[in-house]
């Protein structure tokens, strides 16, 4: 379970407050979605959970499975099986996809991998994602299309088996067919590991129709202003964020 308790987050560069007194609790097996206009702090929230060095938690705490992770380094959070599928995955020349995934598995588990099982699993996952097999031997995300980068993030989810997944605009850069494929893969993952929690960050309800969130939150100016179910996402798409009135989020949970 992830508990975000009254966090305030600043950009280290200019001390600008981006997230203001935000609280959110995501229980095991729950799927939450956060929607909101550009520049409202959604991606900052995802990077703060992951411990990005550009952001500073100036108040509040983030608890994962009963342990405060606010002071942990990025890799320590990764080792606790928190996973951020990034909006724009970084391209890294010279580091092959397979070497990277293999090293990550070993670092997280602390054990050497069984090569036979690794190759079988990665090949099956690649096939399920309708992903070109060549991609696993190429430099990490280098020269990948937007859709291929997103599929590569989901490939890593399947291989690293996180317990808490943040999908930061997974739907951007994906055509309708690819979006269905990656969502089908995520649904299969949840079915296999039902305790997994997911936080979806998106602008559009399309991805939510596939992943069926338990809660949808509207975020504005660094705060959650309203919480509901998927109908809130559909309403927002119709009327826009400016027409959404603020409601006490606890009341919405009830």
């Amino acid at each position: 379970m992830l508990e975000i308790k009254n966090i305030t987050v600043e950009a280290k560069e200019n001390h600008q407050k981006i997230i203001k007194d935000l609280s959110l609790t995501i229980k095991n097996g729950e799927i939450h979605a956060i929607m909101g206009p550009n520049g409202t702090g959604k991606s900052t929230l995802s990077k703060t959970i992951m411990g990005h060095p550009k952001y500073e938690l100036v108040d509040g705490d983030i608890i994962f499975n009963g342990e405060s992770i606010s002071q942990l380094t990025v890799d320590e959070r990764g080792k606790r099986k928190i996973f951020l599928a990034m909006q724009d995955p970084t391209e890294i020349e010279g580091v092959t996809n397979s070497e990277f995934i293999k090293t990550s598995i070993q670092e997280i588990s602390g054990e050497r991998i069984n090569y036979f099982n690794f190759i079988k699993e990665i090949e099956d996952s690649v096939e399920n994602l309708n992903f070109n097999k060549e991609m696993i031997h190429r430099s990490l995300n280098k020269g990948f299309s937007g859709g291929e980068k997103k599929k590569n993030e989901v490939l890593q989810i399947k291989m690293l088996k996180p317990k808490f997944i943040i999908l930061d605009e997974l739907d951007s850069g994906l055509d309708v067919d690819s979006l269905k494929i990656v969502c089908d893969n995520i649904c299969q993952y949840i079915e296999k590991y039902p305790e997994t929690s997911i936080l979806i960050i998106t602008h559009y309800p399309r991805i939510l129709k596939y992943l069926h969130p338990n809660y949808v939150h509207i975020m504005k100016d660094g705060k959650i202003i309203k919480t509901g179910d998927i109908s809130l996402a559909l309403e927002t798409e119709k009327v826009g964020y400016n027409s959404i009135n603020e409601v006490n989020e606890r009341k919405a949970y009830e």
Binding site: P53, D75, P89, T90, I92, V95, T103, E107, S139, L160
Partner: protein
């Protein structure tokens, strides 16, 4: 392609129409002179540990081609001089010159591509990178001395640390800073070399020990 051994040699000459792929690991100060005759092709992976180097490549014959992957790990202060001399028509050189400056010491790449006035139809490219793991002082002098208009030439130079967003991406998948740096150094320094080669295996071990 054939493989030649030259750990003790300071000079390599490729004869006319000869093609070679060469792996070289050097751990002492080295002065290396290469001559490429007409239509010869050399693809060289040169791994160098913590010493000075003077490397002179002479494209002596028409249509000679060299692809030079030079990688160095630096712990104390050193200078690497590389001179790419196009002395015949239609010669081509591609230099990938990479270094990691581990300690707070000085690493200098002085790299020059030379094309004389009467030598046309050449390609002369150089790409230089030095990664400072700490706060060492690194310098790249990427020079092109070209006296002919009918050539294609590029040069680039980057000095800095591994980018924060790249480290964040790797570490978010559970890799420690040390392991993330190690992966990135291997990517930079192995420089497309085959990981089956003895020289590469030894150089990888050196990277892992950093």
């Amino acid at each position: 392609m054939n493989k030649i051994m030259l750990k003790e040699k300071k000079e390599i000459t490729l004869s006319e129409n000869e093609e070679k792929e060469l792996y070289l690991l050097t751990t002492e100060d080295i002065s290396l002179i290469i001559h490429l005759n007409k239509n010869s092709h050399l693809n060289i992976y040169h791994y160098h540990i913590n010493k000075n180097a003077n490397i002179e490549i002479n494209l002596d014959g028409e249509n000679a081609l060299v692809t030079y992957h030079f990688s160095t790990i630096n712990y104390s202060s050193h200078k690497i001089n590389i001179s790419m001399n196009h002395k015949a028509l239609n010669t081509s050189s591609y230099l990938y010159n990479h270094g990691v400056n581990v300690e707070n010491q000085e690493l200098i790449f002085d790299v020059v591509g030379k094309i004389l006035k009467n030598i046309s139809g050449c390609i002369c490219n150089q790409e230089n990178q030095i990664i400072n793991l700490q706060d060492g002082k690194s310098t790249i002098l990427p020079k092109l001395e070209i006296d002919n208009y009918d050539i294609v030439s590029t040069h680039s130079a980057y000095i800095g640390k591994f980018k924060e967003d790249i480290l964040f991406y790797l570490m978010s998948r559970g890799l420690s800073l040390k392991k993330a740096n190690e992966l990135l150094m291997k990517g930079l320094l192995i420089n497309q070399g085959s990981i089956d080669k003895e020289e590469v295996i030894k150089f990888q071990k050196e990277i892992e020990s950093i």
